[in-house]
Homo-oligomer: 419 residues x 2
């Protein structure tokens, strides 16, 4: 097993040493010998960020369709081009997204897209921890459902076949308005029998809530509850329009929620996830960027800040979602939602660690480091990234960066001009 | 006169050369000889950002008091410490803020604080373009007003005595709730007779609007109109609660508005500046970060994004404030508000220019550069900063950075523990 020592690093205000053996933090405090010694004097160790909801390969569509209505965005711009996407596109799009995530301090992400066996190859190479869901959209067409379940099965087998602890296949029924009732039930069975986690969108727009009420006679969360989807192993993204009865259902079932404030603002979701009520109910939450075509960034430091800002504004109270809670949402919250031992730099946890250099104008003075990470920093403050015990970035250098930028740019240009 | 050539730089999608002579852009297109030649191959020229409302030296209070109500923030935390601030504190706080602004691509800022002759010294050394207002708060006390007008007069004379085109003294009556009617009238006279610009806060909170109505029988903008303050040379910050009648007054008088979205969200101002209505009425607007104690960043790239996000959200329409308009607000809009020939990279304009290296994960692909600058970039994408024809940053290095960080940190620590 390889070992890494973070020497003379600041942790919770004290200077200490963090010793990593294999993919875990083994000990904190003793200056031990290690295969790799990182000199961290004056620098600070933080847990890696967990991006709880994204569509990583959509990095290829960054800036391709902004400032338009959600339906236009999907129907006129994104869906027609997505229909032409190849597995190779997804591979390069995911490589690009992983590069951006490493450079901005994200070590784990919960992803939903297509050709996810190819995304898995990219994640394997880049070294991140990935939860990968093959997106499923049947639009009520039985033949399409059949074909897609076959695809889901194949992709998940391939990902499982990689036998990498840090890459986990997840079920990805897209949303209540794109997946038929029959398919939802089958997803529920799959989750129960095979132990898969489930990742879906829920209560993003008012239209979704109204259509659900008209079609199924209840609100979105109640509909999923009836279908047996709400569970400890389910993560729902957005939750902008959740009402108290739905929050109660999520809390009781142990369902997790990914708050995606930037995307919700950019696409004008009309309402913000009710963080205080979800928090009060004890629902486990994390933060997500959503895909880089509706954000258009994968920087979780930015998302922490926007979450804290918009929660204060929406609830007309500047004490809502203080810096400490926002930081926890982005790290420990996401880790808890995904059921991994990450999100804190402490002995026994997975070695998903950032090293930040605080000698920067925007991080000066240091009255309150947590405030600085949330309100003043962007992801570029991250100097070094360790994920699963491996050093993925050191001194802001990531292996293969130049090639990824060139290939991804070429693939993206080709994709959007493809006939 | 010194000259600078930006060689092989991308401008509006074409590769060209930008020739700066003295403090102006003299010519675009020809590869001329120059005292300083900046190799810009593959890099992009952008106008410098204009921060239309801040309190720069409050960088010393970054992270000192977050997640609290505005009144508590002011009365319990900020005001007691501000009372102990020395001119030297303001000097170092402004140096720190200037450093952060340079590092994030701001070349001009509109500032309001205390001991502004010392701020001016910092701005002179750092090379930025500064509009500096000595903040005036009399709280209705005549003796205090008298003393402060004396201070305003002294500070403005000192700043004018520097005879630097890029540093301009401005009048800074704080707000309608902190300045007496008599003092407002005197500020109106000063502006008329001596040609000063005026910088104030207006319509930030609902409480301000309600108290104004109760005390003066009208809304804040109507009150300032009556006192003769609304004018082409006046910049008001915030404007969250402006109603249609006030927008009409601002438009008619030519008053400018600084939108400060991050601070308004963080302090839960309750409502967002009505950008669409102000735009429709033809009001000149720019963007401000507000002070780094209520943001807590001076990064105008972040502010552009948050402005675009919150305007879409507040107006329930993702087409509001598209990338191009957000970028213009942060550059040309601010320049127009301040009456300077900046905000565009074109011949004849002031040489306030950024050079950005787009070969970065978050700026890949380049379907739409403007979208990338607004939605994907942070200020750290800026490689080189030129202000008033002088190179202030090259390859992200700023002269004297280490000393500024050390001194400002020491001053800030001392300030918040001072008895």
């Amino acid at each position: 097993m390889t070992s890494v020592l973070l020497k003379d690093v600041q942790l919770d205000g004290e200077t200490t040493h963090v010793y990593v053996s294999g993919n875990r933090i083994e000990e904190i405090g003793k200056k031990r010998e290690a295969d790799t010694v990182l000199e961290c004097k004056g620098k600070v160790a933080l847990p890696g960020m967990v991006n709880l909801h994204t569509h990583a390969a959509m990095a290829l569509f960054r800036g391709f369709a902004d400032d338009v209505r959600l339906q236009d965005w999907l129907e006129r711009k994104i869906w027609p081009q997505e229909a032409k996407m190849t597995p190779d596109d997804v591979y390069w799009g995911t490589k690009l997204a992983c590069l951006e995530m490493i450079k901005t301090g994200t070590t784990t992400f919960n992803d939903m897209y297509f050709h996810m066996d190819h995304a898995a190859k990219a994640v394997k190479e880049m070294g991140l921890r990935g939860f990968l869901a093959e997106g499923f959209i049947d639009l009520g067409i039985a033949s399409r459902a059949k074909e897609q379940f076959k695809q889901v099965d194949e992709v998940n087998r391939k990902i499982e076949g990689m036998k990498l602890e840090r890459i986990t296949p997840v079920l990805g029924p897209h949303a209540i308005y794109t997946v038929s009732e029959d398919s939802w039930r089958r997803f529920g069975d799959l989750a129960d029998k095979k132990g898969f986690m489930t990742h879906t969108h829920l209560s993003e727009t008012k239209r979704e809530v109204e259509e659900c009420a008209a079609r199924y006679g209840g609100r979105p969360a109640a509909y999923l509850e009836k279908l047996g989807i709400l569970a400890r192993s389910t993560i729902v993204a957005h939750g902008c329009w959740l009402d108290p009865s739905e929050i109660e259902l999520l809390a009781r079932s142990g369902t997790k929620v990914a708050h995606c404030p930037v995307s919700n603002l950019k696409l004008a979701a009309g309402q913000v996830m009710p963080f205080p009520a979800l928090h009060e109910a004890g629902v486990v939450m994390g933060l997500g960027t959503d895909g880089p075509a509706s954000n258009n960034s994968l920087d979780m430091f930015e998302t922490m800040k926007v979450a804290a800002l918009i929660q204060k504004f929406a609830h007309n109270d500047p004490t809502v979602l203080p810096a400490k809670e926002a930081f926890e949402l982005a790290s420990l919250g996401g880790a808890r939602a995904l059921g991994i031992d990450a999100g804190l730099v402490e002995a026994g946890r997975l070695a998903d660690i950032l090293v930040v250099d605080p000698k920067r104008a925007e991080l000066t003075p240091r009255h309150d480091d947590l405030s600085n990470w949330v309100y003043s920093a962007h992801g570029n403050v991250v100097d070094t990234v360790i994920c699963d015990g491996q050093v993925l970035m050191k001194g802001r250098r990531v292996k293969g960066e130049g090639e990824i930028l060139e290939k991804a740019a070429a693939v993206a240009r080709d994709l959007v001009t493809r006939e």
